[in-house]
């Protein structure tokens, strides 16, 4: 299992559009993706579901923890970390 902790910098946090891009990216991988909000201590929720990601209520500046478990967990963790780190560059 790979674990990544990262702060969400986007103005809207993980909200409609950003949550959707995040969930779509997570859905590309076979591994199970979990997301926890460290700021609210909520989750883990299924990272591939926009709705559950939304319910985490991640706002700008909140730190989250992403876990990937499965055959492509390294690639999945790296991709999701890059997505957040580059603030969804070009994807929104």
């Amino acid at each position: 299992m790979k674990t990544v902790r990262i702060r969400v910098t986007n103005e809207v946090g993980l909200h409609a559009r950003t949550a959707a891009v995040f969930a779509a990216e997570a859905a590309r991988f076979a591994s199970a993706i979990g997301v926890r909000s460290l700021a609210r201590d909520s989750g883990p929720v299924d990272g591939k579901s926009i709705l559950t990601v939304l319910t985490l209520g991640v706002e700008q500046g909140h730190e989250i923890e992403i876990t990937a478990e499965g055959p492509d967990e390294d690639a999945a963790a790296a991709a999701l970390e890059t997505l957040i780190r580059t603030d969804f560059a070009g994807r929104l």
Partner: protein, 573 residues
């Protein structure tokens, strides 16, 4: 019933009279069964979701066309909720336990909606309404029919507590005379769609609105934010006179929009358009634009993994220049930054993107990218009047380096073949206060200056445009901003170059006479604002506008400036 006046927030301009059609959203009646056959219920849910998907797709296309991509995007979000893995999984589990599709789906939707409603951030809470909207749509299909939204039998004023995006989009636009909401605000979906449709709307009227009855005669004034209920004859007459006056003005403005805007004593003010796409360029010409005062080029660069090549850019610029014919076009080089990121330009996350690595400072670190853009512009420009605009220039070094790149590209092109025909002016947007303060220097080295009042106001008032708590400070009519405009105009005219304004202020009816009076040569605005701006220019003499401007810059608040302009505006014909 005696006449009553209800007040709310003006959300879409215009005046209309009509019978009230009261829409009260029905809570969905969910039939519950147990012992249902899972296969059958799964099939039913699938069919309902398919039908909902097709409908939402249709709505998205319609709304995008009438009100733009951002409004259409709401329905794209609905589509994603519709197919959400967790939602389907939860509903599927209930179905496997023998619960019927309606109840399984409703419970799953409510589960997530309720969770979102618990969150402190209000924007997350509004997503709960979106999810319920999607949920409701599927439920309607599961129960084999029902109302997705208000179905007007005759032209009427739609009266509701609030309207979800689906409900608004399902309205038959031809029958909607006006929209009145007890809740909601000027940026809510219903308001935006009403504006796109050109239908008056008043929102936030409050709960008394819902005491109205079907058929109550209403006079809706979307400019003042007033709803007159059961008006008497005198009120109706006054209302219709006012409406007729407004309609006449609008017609006159439209008719005259193709003509140049001259003050009554003969001074010409060039009215141009801010555009960000080929379609907007067409709309601009249609609205009477005498040129493009600001072509934002970001649409070519955003949302892709590699920059557009020279050919691709040149083709787009050519299309735009063709639509503008012999009218001048000012092309702004790529204005990217942390808030408008491009993946192929390394942009570190910034605490303060508006004070950060963006605009020309970013571009100068990528001369190859800039040169491709400049070459594409110049190639496409042959035969046209092209102006090159550099964004966010703060220092003369930046300006000189940018200008040198243009000249280098021109030299290279001349060496490679015949020089492109047409003229090319090089200028910059003045938005950084430092550039305003040293405007005299810049004026000596640029062919023109155009003032980006959106950002200039932001920097001057030290208030983030996007921050609701300080948005009220971001008023370009503030004398501080007007004095800066005055300074730039003086610097430009002393040197003999022209000065334009390309921020939203250029199209603000309160600001137009002041800007004209300050001597601004060109006002560039959103195409929709052009006819009115021309009409305003034509109402004033330059002399009176100068006196107005002179008085305005000595006032002490934006509010005072607006009051002054309105008080002194010549009577409309």
């Amino acid at each position: 019933m005696a006449a009553r006046v209800l007040t709310g927030i003006p959300a879409s301009p215009g005046m209309a009279e009509g019978p009230a059609f009261i829409w009260r959203r029905q809570a969905p009646f969910v039939r519950r069964r147990t012992g249902a056959a899972p296969e059958e219920e799964r099939r039913r849910l699938e069919a309902a979701r398919s039908a909902a998907r097709a409908e939402i797709d249709g709505l998205r296309a319609r709304v995008t066309t009438t009100a733009g991509g951002q409004q259409g995007a709401i329905f794209a979000a609905h589509l994603m909720f519709l197919d959400d893995a967790a939602l389907l999984s939860r509903a599927g589990e209930a179905i496997a336990r023998g619960i019927n599709a309606e109840a399984a789906w409703y419970d799953a939707v409510e589960h997530f909606a309720a969770q979102l409603e618990q969150l402190p951030d209000p924007t997350f809470r509004t997503r709960a309404a979106d999810i319920r909207d999607v949920g409701h749509r599927v439920l309607v299909h599961l129960s084999g029919g029902g109302e997705a939204g208000p179905a007007l039998p005759v032209p009427a004023v739609v009266v509701a507590s609030d309207l979800s995006p689906s409900e608004v989009a399902s309205l038959d636009r031809a029958l909607v005379l006006a929209v009145c909401l007890a809740h909601g605000g000027p940026t809510s979906h219903a308001a935006i769609l009403a504006r796109a449709w050109g239908v008056p709307a008043v929102v936030g009227v409050g709960d008394p609105l819902m005491d109205l009855e079907h058929g109550d005669v209403l006079l809706v004034d979307g400019d003042r934010g007033e709803v007159i209920v059961a008006p008497d004859e005198a009120q109706r007459r006054a209302f219709h006179d006012q409406a007729a006056r407004a309609a006449r003005q609008e017609r006159t403005a439209r008719a005259a929009s193709g003509e140049p805007a001259l003050t009554r004593d003969g001074r010409r003010v060039h009215i141009e358009a801010n555009v960000g796409s080929v379609d907007e360029a067409s709309a601009a010409v249609h609205a009477g634009a005498e040129g493009v005062g600001l072509l934002r080029t970001e649409f070519l660069f955003l949302g892709r993994s590699a920059p557009p090549g020279e050919e691709e850019q040149a083709a787009v610029y050519r299309a735009i220049f063709e639509r503008l014919g012999s009218r001048p076009v000012a092309v702004r080089t790529l204005d990217a930054g942390a808030d408008k990121p491009v993946p192929y330009l390394p942009l570190p996350a910034e605490a303060n993107p508006f004070l950060g690595y963006r605009g020309v400072r970013l571009l100068l670190d990528h001369p190859d990218l800039l040169k491709v853009q400049l070459r594409a512009m110049l190639r496409a420009a042959s035969g046209s009047r092209v102006r090159i605009l550099f964004p966010m220039v703060a220092t003369l070094e930046e300006w000189r380096r940018a200008r040198a790149l243009v000249e280098a590209v021109q030299r290279e092109m001349r060496a490679a073949g015949p020089a492109p025909a047409g003229t090319c002016e090089i200028g910059m947007t003045v938005e950084v206060p430092a550039a305003v303060i040293l405007a005299d220097h810049f004026a000596r080295e640029a062919d023109f200056l155009t003032i980006g009042t959106n950002d200039l106001t932001q920097y001057t008032m030290a208030a983030d445009r996007g921050n609701a708590n300080v948005a009220h400070l971001n008023d370009g009519c503030h004398p501080a901003v007007l004095r800066l405009v005055q300074r730039v105009v003086e610097a430009g005219h002393t040197t003999g170059i022209w000065v334009g304004v390309c921020g939203e202020l250029a199209g603000d009816p309160d600001a137009v006479p002041v800007l004209v009076g300050l001597g601004v040569d060109e006002l560039s605005m959103t195409p929709a604002a052009i006819p009115r701006a021309k009409a305003i220019v034509r109402q004033w003499t330059f002399e009176d506008a100068r006196r107005l401007a002179h008085a305005a810059v000595d006032l002490d608040s934006a509010h005072a400036v607006r009051a002054l302009v309105r008080g002194r505006s010549p009577q409309d014909g």
